[in-house]
Point group: C2
Chain length 115, copies 2
DNA sequence: TCCATATGTCGACGATAATCGACATATTGG
DNA sequence: CCAATATGTCGATTATCGTCGACATATGGA
């Protein structure tokens, strides 16, 4: 992931409706959520939400699949991983002693078994 | 950290010059870098860089201190930690098995001794 | 096929953001 | 105090973004 792609991804998340939608989808996992349900949940007009979702898809943060009449959006673990990875990679270039306390407080918030 | 603050921080990083400046400062650690040197390094007019730095300060991602005629900017580990923590907290609500592979690939990029 | 449901696209408006010249402020040394 | 250096502020311009009404497309069932 280069700096341009990162700016794009960060920009996609740097908007209240989109960040809210993203967080909603993160919690849903692979199951995902239909476009209309996302819009209703966040009280946002369906067409406005539609463009926001398109921006998140374009940024590689979420995916979409059709299921009957609905289009289901779900988190793109690959793209999300790349963004987090890029941000973390930069956290302590050559100075591990500085970022250790930073990470110590981040990791407990993560529920993965290996943390 | 709430969603509004997060949007602000992400927005601060969602701009090429600011992300570049932030990454520069992350690598510098507590030592930091003078405003003018940042501007020269990134080939950005000093006043343009000045407003970008102000936005990063306002977002709580960097700090400033005066040293003689220069103003030295450096990463704000506290604010940066809060942002990363917020993003990581959301990564696997109730579904650790889904985010484990996500984190597995993020953590190796981190140089902290405990990873 | 026709209608209802679900979602996406287009276009225009208002708002916000990025840029940079010109000017202002702050610090140090002579 | 004055000049040089370092940085910040203001203001105007241009570009981009968010919003939403109106219309278009896609799916499934009667």
């Amino acid at each position: 992931m280069d700096i341009t792609t990162t700016v794009k991804s960060l920009g996609a998340l740097a908007q209240e409706s989109r960040l809210a939608a993203f967080r909603l989808l993160v919690r849903r996992g692979v199951e995902g959520m239909a476009a209309g349900e996302i819009a209703r949940t966040l009280s946002i007009p369906h067409n406005t939400m539609s463009s926001h979702l398109a921006i998140l898809v374009n940024a590689g943060l979420i995916n979409s699949r059709r299921e009957s009449r609905s289009i289901i959006y779900s988190i793109d673990f690959g793209g999300t991983r790349e963004l987090l990875s890029f941000l973390m990679q930069d956290c302590c270039q050559g100075q591990p002693e500085l970022c250790a306390p930073l990470l110590d407080s981040v990791l407990p918030g993560c529920c993965a078994p290996n943390c």
